[in-house]
Each structure stands twice: as C-alpha cells, then as structure tokens.
C-alpha cells in the first residue's frame, strides 16, 4: 500500500534542516585480523567518531611463533632456518645479522667472495621487498595496475635469488663462516666448487637494467598520478624526533628527513666499496615513504651492478669446526634490512645453541608508532598510512 504525499503540503527542504550539530556517539571499529590491508593478521581496535579516529590500539600476537624461545633449544646452524621466516618478503636479509653476530663471537674471518655474494643477494632481497611494497601500496589506496607490474619485476629478482640459493623466499643460504655452494652444485668439499650459476652475471645485469627502467615507469605511473598524490601528500606526517623515540627505522625514518643508513655506518657487509646514495624525504608523509623506497630500489640495483663486476675470487667458506660451538660472549649486531633496523642480541654460554637470543625486528618498532600517528585521522587515511609503513606480520610478531 502506498501512501500518497501531497507535494503542496511538504515543507521546503531548507526549512526542515536542523541547525543543531549532530552529536555522534563514539563507536568502536574493529579492523582485522583478516582485513586485506593489514598485511596479514594485525588487528586494530579503533575508536571512531564518525569518520574520524580518536584512538587506535593495535592487537598483536596472531602470528607469534616464539622464535626467541625456540632459538634456545636449537643449534646455531638450525637457527638460520628459523630466522628466514621472520620477514618472509625478504628472507635472505634476515639471515645476515644473525650469521654476522655468530661469526663475531667465534671471531671467524669471512672470505671476501662470500661477503660479496651475501651483499648481492641482500640487495636483491631489498629490491624484491620494495617491489612488493610498490605493488601493494597503490593497490591499498585504489590502483590495481601497479601490482602486476611490480610482481613481474619482483619475479626477475626472485628468479635470480632462486638460481643461486635454490629458494625463492627462504633461501637458508648463509653458513657460519661463509655461504653455501650454489643450488645443485654438490658438496662444499668438492674441488672447483661452483658457487654462482652459469650466466648469473649476465642475467643479473639484464635484470637490473630492466628494473632501473621499471623504476622510471613506476615514478610516472604511480608518482605522477593525481589521485595517488592527493591520497598521500601531507598524510600521516611523522616528525623525525617522534620516529626516533619510538624506534622507527629504515625507509620510514629516512622519509622523515634523517639521513641514517646502517649500511654506511656499520661494516657487516662491504658496502663501503660501492657508490650509492641514501635517499631521504622532506615531509615524512606517506608520499615520501613511497618515494624513498622507490629510490632505494634504484640504489640497490646500482649496488648490485657494481658488485657483480667486483666479485673477488677465492674460497666460499672460512674454516670452521664441523660442530659449531660459539665461545662465551655477548654481542649485538644490526643490519639495515628493507624494513629497517634488524638486529640480534646474542648471548652465548659456550654451548651448541645460544643462551638467549633477542631478535630486534624493524616492523615491530615501526608500527608501535601507529597509535600516535593515527590519532585524529580519517578512516580512509588510516589505510593509506598503514600501507605506507610496509610492515610484515612475521616481522612484527616474530
């Protein structure tokens, strides 16, 4: 049954509007743990007032695997397998600080060739990780196409990593004192060991040049997009003092204008042999965080191009005991991973495994600033800000 309305008797719209402000009650919005933009299983409990967030509390632990405890019952070579799975987007680079910490306590001198191979693969892992970000971030704020380009280019790097290590995500390639022979090359004791696969240098050179071109493409496609700029410029501005106080590191810290890169200040890998820039941002907003990472792909590709021309010949592995026992001692070794500072505080009591292994991961500290940063922002900006942090839940929960 329809009611008939006499338009003559209806009051004018302008007269019906209420002049009092609408009071909205606070509402709790639960985002995640299965929301696509949370990169896994992060849960955010947001107190919202309309579209505005006034308090957000991340809830962690859905991916907690207890690696610090597990490390206490594993031997040193076994731990490499565990730490591969912390930040699975750049598995290779997780191994480096742990292996470096162990080697430091054992006072093993790693052969130069092994260091160079580590460096090349670490930079490739950085490129792969940043390509994931470059594909996923525009996707999160509404652009689908860059994802496919990014995945295509990431695949080039993963293929190269796979050709050397035999694994795409979890290479488990580093050994204490050096690196493993290339995938399928036979036992390490064999004479004339094949370490890098045939044609590796040429393929790397081609891939890196393609990737440098792809970066130009990305800069036009994403960075030149009006919608992308509107969604990211001046959104989520993170001042450098706040970033430091929360332990925010890596590209996010550099986007806030701090020119700090552990690759240039520490010597865990021979980065001082190469020329590269440390890109920084000016405003510390989402756009800068995106742009810094894009620039880092370029710089990493340049480092790889320089490194493959300079790989020295020599052994792959230093002489180490067959059963690894690390002498008593304590050290903290950190490295510049794609997500930021990753470090291992290793306490050895002379046994087959560590007495205590504290794992400092980048994403954990990075997202700890989210409650501060998300206060007062609008819900669509929340997604833009979270995406720009490029966290991986394995790296948050460990």
């Amino acid at each position: 049954m329809t009611t008939t309305i006499d338009p003559e008797n209806l009051p004018f719209i302008s007269e019906t509007s209420v002049s009092v402000e609408i009071e909205t009650e606070g509402m709790t919005l639960n985002i995640g743990p299965q929301h696509p933009s949370t990169h896994g299983v992060l849960r955010l409990v947001a107190k919202v007032d309309g579209e505005q967030i006034f308090n957000v509390e991340p809830v962690l632990g859905y991916m907690h695997r207890g690696y610090e405890k597990l490390a206490e019952v594993r031997t040193y070579p076994q731990i490499t397998t565990l730490v591969n799975r912390i930040d699975w987007v750049s598995g290779f680079s997780n191994e480096i600080p742990f292996i470096a910490a162990t080697e430091k306590l054992m006072e093993v001198e790693v052969p130069e060739r092994a260091k160079y191979i580590r460096l090349i693969l670490t930079e490739m892992a950085r490129i792969a990780s940043h390509f994931v970000f470059n594909g996923a971030y525009p996707l999160e704020i509404g652009a689908l196409t860059p994802l496919f380009y990014a995945m295509e280019d990431r695949e080039r790097v993963l293929d190269l990593i796979e050709s050397v290590t035999g694994g795409r995500f979890h290479p488990n390639f580093n050994r204490i004192g050096g690196v493993k022979p290339a995938a399928g090359a036979g036992p390490a004791t064999k004479k004339d060991i094949q370490d890098l696969p045939a044609g590796f240098y040429q393929e790397t050179r081609d891939s890196m040049e393609t990737i440098l071109k792809a970066c130009d493409k990305f800069e036009d496609l994403v960075g030149g997009n009006e919608v992308f700029i509107a969604r990211t410029k001046n959104i989520g501005v993170l001042p450098s003092e706040v970033a430091s106080a929360y332990g925010v590191s890596g590209p996010i810290l550099r986007a806030s204008g701090v020119k700090f890169d552990l690759r240039s200040t520490t010597d865990y890998l021979p980065y001082k042999d190469f020329d590269y820039e440390i890109p920084t941002g000016e405003n510390g907003d989402c756009y800068d965080r995106w742009f810094v990472r894009l620039q880092e792909i370029r710089e990493s590709a340049k480092i790889v191009l320089q490194a493959i021309d300079a790989v020295p010949s020599g052994p792959l592995q230093a002489k180490v005991p067959k059963i690894i026992k690390v002498p008593e001692g304590e050290c903290y070794v950190r490295a510049e991973n794609p997500k930021g500072e990753m470090g291992y505080h290793l306490i050895s009591e002379g046994g087959l495994g560590p007495y205590r292994l504290k794992i400092r991961t980048a994403s954990f500290s990075n997202i700890s600033v989210l409650p501060w940063l998300l206060e007062g922002v609008l819900i669509p900006d929340l997604l833009a800000i979270m995406g720009s942090f490029d966290f991986v839940l394995g790296d948050v929960d460990r």
């Binding site: 207890g66 610090e68 106080a245």
Partner: protein, 187 residues
C-alpha cells in the same frame, strides 16, 4: 661500527658511567636498578642517543629446563637490557641493570622513550617483570588466558614433550672430535 668512533664514545661514557665494557663492538653500560631511568635520560639528552632500539631481559638461572645452563654458576636474577642508538654515526649503547627475581619490578622508560611501551609489555608477559608507571601494562602477544612466562628458563617447551624432535630417527651420530671442513686445496 667504526672502531675509532666506538672508542671515542667509550672514553666519554666511562667518565660518567664507571661500569662500561666494550666487547665484540658492543658497548655495554651497567647501572644500578635505581639509576635506570636517569641513565637512559642522560644517554638521550647528553650523548644524543635518541633512537630507542629495543628493550628486553635475560633470565639468569642455573637450573634450566630448556637449552644449556650457564657455564659458570650465576646469581639467579633478571638482567634488563635496553639498546639506544644515535641516528647519525651508528653508535649504539646497551644499558644493563640487574633486578631481583623474587620481586621483579623496575621503573618504566615510557616517559623517556614512548617506544619502550610495547617492549616493556613484551618483557612483562615473557618474563613476568613489572614496569612501575607503565600506563597500560597488559599482555602484548599472548592470549588473555595464557598462564606462565614463556621466556623464563624454567618454562618448558611443551612441543618437545608431546612430540619427538622431527627427524630424530635419521639424525647421524655426532662426530667425536671437532673436525674441520676440508678446504678447497685438499681432497
């Protein structure tokens, strides 16, 4: 880290903090429990170590149910570690203090470094250490009903109890002596 930078920082630090070690390029400062917050503030304000890297604890215990016990007999205690860094030269310092295990309580660093909040919550659930003055000292990772503090040395790893070590049957016997991997020149 560049060794020379490290040494110069060590020199200036050891005048203010008497108990300082620098083994394996890891600068470590030992302070008393009641100087904890004050020392962190001093490192931040006077030495420019404004980057809060991490905070955690170590359970020193002779009687362990996982892993190997310490080599020498230790006084059972919690060692609290906090790593601070600068954001220019790559210097870092590990601040260390020891607290009693019967009543593990220490002042919070949240007012100096807001980033300490989550790290302290993690230490709270993993070791059972209380941080006095922490605004929201609740579990971080573990579910609400979880009992126990997993990173304590007395906490057993139950997976090993209910399920044998995977691959145990095909583990080769350990060689008797520490053999060295044969180099390229041999064979």
């Amino acid at each position: 880290m560049d060794q020379s930078e490290n040494t110069s920082l060590l020199d200036s630090l050891s005048s203010n903090f008497p108990s300082t070690t620098n083994d394996f390029d890891t600068l470590k400062i030992f302070v008393k429990e009641d100087e904890w917050v004050q020392a962190a503030t001093k490192l931040k304000d006077e030495y420019g170590l404004s980057f809060f890297s991490w905070l955690s604890a170590v359970d020193w215990e002779n009687d362990v149910s996982v892993g190997d016990p310490p080599k020498e007999n230790v006084q059972p205690s919690f060692e609290i570690l906090c790593c601070l860094s600068d954001t220019s030269d790559g210097n870092f310092v590990i601040l260390s203090t020891t607290i009693d295990k019967t009543n593990p309580i220490i002042n919070t660093l949240v007012n100096v470094f807001p980033g300490a909040s989550w790290h302290e919550r993690e230490a709270y659930e993993m070791f059972g250490i209380s941080f006095e003055g922490h605004p929201n000292l609740i579990k971080l990772y573990l579910p609400d009903g979880f009992e126990g503090n997993p990173l304590l040395k007395s906490y057993e790893l139950l997976t090993r109890e209910v399920k044998p070590w995977p691959g145990e049957v095909d583990v080769e016997p350990m060689p008797e002596s520490d053999e060295e991997i044969k180099g390229d020149d041999e064979q």
